[in-house]
Each structure stands twice: as C-alpha cells, then as structure tokens.
Amino acid sequence: MRSDQSNRASTGLKLAAIAGLLFMHLPILLIFVYAFTTEDKTYQFPPPGYTLKWFAITWNRPDVWEALQLSVKVASISTVIALVLGTLCAAAVSRSKFFGREAISLMVILPIALPGIITGIALRSAFNLADIPFSMWTIILGHATFCVVVVYNNAVARFRRLSGSLIEASMDLGATGIQTFRYVVMPNIATSLLAGGMLAFALSFDEVIVTTFTAGQQATLPIWMLEELVRPRQRPVTNVVAMVVVLVTFLPILGAYYLTRGGDQIAGSGK
C-alpha cells in the first residue's frame, strides 16, 4: 500500500469486500423470492411463477399465530427480567471496584460464551432433577439468563460515562435514592436500556437451541420453523413465515442502532 494512494482502496480489496457483503445478503434476499413462488412441492429455482396466495393461507393458520403469540410473550417477559438483572449488574460493576468483580462479569457473559447446547442441557437436567414441569416459564427462565448479557453490555458502557458527581450532587440537594434514580440516572441510561431491551427481545425471539431443551409441548416460532426444516410439510407457509420473521427482526435492530449511534459503543455489536 503506497502512501500516495493510501486513502483509496485497491480494486482487489474493494472486490473482496463487495463479494463478502453479497455473500452475507443474497441468501436472505432469496427467501423473499421464494415467498412468492407458485411451486409448493420442491425448492425449484427459478420459480415457475409468482403468486400472493401463500400470504392469505399463512394468515389463516392458527398454529403459526399460536407460535408467534408464545414467542412474543416469552420474549417480552424475558426482556423485562433481563432489563432488571442486567441494569443492577451493570450499576454494581461500573460504580465500584470490589472483590469478585471480574467473576461477576464473567458470570454474565458465560451463558452466551458457552455453546447454547450446554446452557440448554444443563437447564433441562436441572429441571428434571428438581421435578419442575416444562412450561412457558421454563422457556423464559432460559431466555432471561442469556438475555442479561445484552442489556448488561449496553448499560455498562453508559454507566461508565455517567459521572459520579451528578449522583452526588443530586443526593447533596436532598433527593432520595429513588428520586435520584428517576431524575438523574434514568434519563442518562434510558436510551441504552431501550436499545439493550430491543436486542434482548430480538435475541429471545430468535432463540432455538436452548429452547428445544427447555420447552415441553409448546412451540415458539423458531421451534415451529425447526420442525418444518427437519420435516418439511408446509413449504410455502414456511417461506412466508421466514420472510416475515426477517422483516420483523430488522425493526428492533434498526431501532437499537439509531438509539445508540454516536455513542462510544453502538448497540448490537456483540450478540
């Protein structure tokens, strides 16, 4: 790389970067094509024709709606739990130095650093040992555990920027802890929590590996999709669901990005 060209990328680099980006995006775009195909038995390409009828058929499928409902419920409750636990952890870790601080941050990261199957089977065998029947709540238990880290990561960056003197000033002026939290801390960390919450929601909404171990008979949307992947029965409906899932998960990601851009750490860079 000669210095006189250093602010221009070489053609090779440009091509490699473009090829890499295409590799990341074309497969997802293909899903959009398949949602409109008239072919319903095979994955034939190019599609013999295009139709909108699968959207209507999917709309009238109760099993899809039930799975969607369960997924939204699980993701919402897990997100709330993760928000509380993640914020508490972030506040503690960023405000003070104490023995075991490293251990705490390791413990938060562990559920996501270890392969999901380990979290899944560990929880499953623990539920079995404790005779806890599988239900929506066992799914939530698992999801909340690995969602904490997303909230934590977002909140801890913001807490570090929040100057301690602001809190001191508030307390000196006679505010109670709750008032300080409500009027001083909260406005400062709100957007990072919102971003963390959105990412936690997206993470839970999409999770399948841990869920296969912690769910009983209930099917979340990913479980429904997995079933279709292993034993395809409703290819056109699966195509439509896949497309809708892609569109729906884009929203929280874009939201989280706009909420935290310009900060020192943009949300979502670590899943």
Partner: protein
C-alpha cells in the same frame, strides 16, 4: 419555627433515611444491587451447569439403563471409544476450518469499513453487517437449504453457466464431496461460515478502527511492500480482534447441533451427540461428558484470548 424544623426532620420519609444509609454504606448498596442477578445467574445458571458437570462423573448401568450414582471415570473412558473420538475430532476440526475461513472472508469487509468507508457509507457498512448478524438463525439455515437443494439456485447457476461438470467433479471428491452439496461436509461448512461470519467482522473492524493510517504510511515510507506491511504491522494489530471474533465462531460451531442435522452428511457432531444421548437414549452422564469437551476447549481458548488482550476488542 423550631417545631416546624423538628416536624420536617421527623417527617423525613423512611425513603430518604434509607437513601442516606445507603450513601454512607456503599457496600450495602452493592450487595442490594448484586443480590438479584447473583441469585438468578449464580443459582439457576451456574447451579445447573455444575449439576450437569457432576453427572458426567456418574455412569449408566448397561443392563437396567439407570444412572448409577457413584463417582467414576467410566463415562469419560467411553468418550475415547473410536466412534465418539471421531465426533470430537470432526467437530473441533470443523470449528477450526470455519474460524480460519471466517477470518479470511471477514478481513476485507472489516478493513474496508474501518479504513475507507466514511460518513454515510460507514453506517451502511455497519448496518449491513448487523442485519445478517441479527436476522433469524433458522431463516438463515433455511435459506441455505433452498440454495443447496438439488433443484435450487446453485445447481441452476452451474447449469446455466455450463459448469455442471465442475460441480460434479467437486462432488465426486472423497470426504468433502457427496451425493449433493446439501449432504456434504462442504455444505455444512458453507452454512457455518455464513451464519457465524458477522460475529467475526464486527470485532475485527473494532480492532482495525484503532490502527492509525500513519502506521501504515510509516511502514510504506520505510520501504515495506504491501505484503510486508500487512504481515508486520496490520495483522499483529488486528490479531486481538480476530481472536475475539474467533471466540464466537469457534464456540458456536462447537456447540451447534441444528446446522449439521439439516445440512450435511449424517455423521454426528458434538451437539448432535449430546442431543441424542440426553434424549431418546437417556444417557445423561455421557451427554454431560460430551459437553465437558467444549467447556474445556473454550476455557483454554478464552484463557489464551485473555492473554492476547482480545477482550479489549470485544
């Protein structure tokens, strides 16, 4: 007047007195803050993790199929049976290859985004890595099922380009070939690479952002060729980011059981073995022993990464 002052003091709510106590005793506040997360993560999560690991030291009775609750290393010996050892080696090898390939494919994207993209393009690059990162895992796997299917787009493309013979020649190769791409190791590899690639790009980009252009200029001014600059300046500085990314690609490949189940030859990976042993076979000790392998590999990996300073690049 005095009365009023006393009144207000007494009326000072319980809340504000509590706030004062907490302010004076930060330890107490810390304990209050940490108790709920420690209860949740420490007891529910770590508790079940240890319970699982403990079970790997039990064994299963061959005749009754029941778990014998006495400490033994028998289950670990079973792990070294050729069939099981094969699974471990195959999975680890796949994880290594996927990680290396991800580093190679990710580098140009990360480097371009970090060094050349500005303003609007920077945002576009960033989002175009974020969106695939966060879009549904199963949908991504499903997309590859569509791509690799016999009647799918890839075969069609080869046919249109009159390159079908090339694909057939590739598929007839031993080990990496197969009846079709969707039942070959190549297929499994491609899907792994695709699904974990964004996890590599982002930390790599973060590391490359911190490389100042002047370093590269200095290297060039001192007479280094581009490849020397890459080898001696750029690569060492990007390494923490690469290692940080590889933690994800490596760990996720080690533990995945869905991708090899849907796309690939029927030979098992660690995740599938764990799933099979805990499910129908009911052999929890062996399943637990299988999960110990990725835990140890990842523990070692994280320790190495920490020494290389990779956590600062996360």
């Amino acid at each position: 007047m005095n009365d009023a002052a006393i009144m207000t003091r007494e009326n000072r709510s319980f809340l504000s007195r509590m706030s004062d106590t907490l302010w004076r005793k930060p330890r107490l506040l810390l304990i209050l803050l940490l108790t709920p997360p420690i209860l949740w993560l420490g007891i529910i999560y770590l508790g079940s993790l240890f319970a699982l690991l403990a079970q790997s030291f039990f064994s299963i009775d061959e005749f009754s199929g029941l778990i014998k609750y006495e400490l033994t290393l028998k289950t670990y010996r079973e792990l070294l049976v050729p069939a099981n050892l094969d699974i471990l080696v195959r999975t680890t090898l796949m994880a290594v290859i996927v990680t290396l390939a991800a580093a190679v494919v990710a580098f140009p994207i990360a480097y371009y985004a970090a060094r050349y993209a500005r303003g609007k393009w920077k945002a576009i690059f960033y989002l175009s890595v974020m969106l695939p990162l966060w879009s549904s895992y199963l949908v991504k796997v499903y997309a590859w099922k569509l791509i690799l299917a016999k009647e799918g787009i890839l075969n069609w493309l080869f046919e249109v380009l009159y390159l079908k013979w090339l694909l057939d020649a590739y598929l007839s190769l031993p080990l990496i070939g197969g009846n079709s791409l969707s039942v070959s190791y190549t297929g499994t590899f491609l899907v792994f690479l695709y699904v974990w690639l964004p996890f590599m790009v982002l930390p790599m980009q973060a590391a490359l952002e911190r490389v100042q252009a002047s370093y590269l200029e200095a290297s060039a001014d001192l007479g280094a060729t581009p490849s020397q600059t890459f080898k001696n300046v750029l690569f060492p500085l990007a390494l923490p980011g690469i290692i940080a990314g590889s933690i994800f690609t490596f760990s996720l490949t080690l533990g995945d059981y869905i991708i090899p189940q849907i796309i690939g030859s029927s030979r098992l990976f660690i995740g599938q073995a764990v799933y099979a042993h805990q499910g129908t076979a009911g052999n929890i000790p062996l399943a637990a022993a299988f999960t110990v392998v990725p835990v140890i590999v990842m523990g070692f990996y994280l320790w190495m990464a920490k020494r290389q300073g990779a956590f600062d690049a996360l």
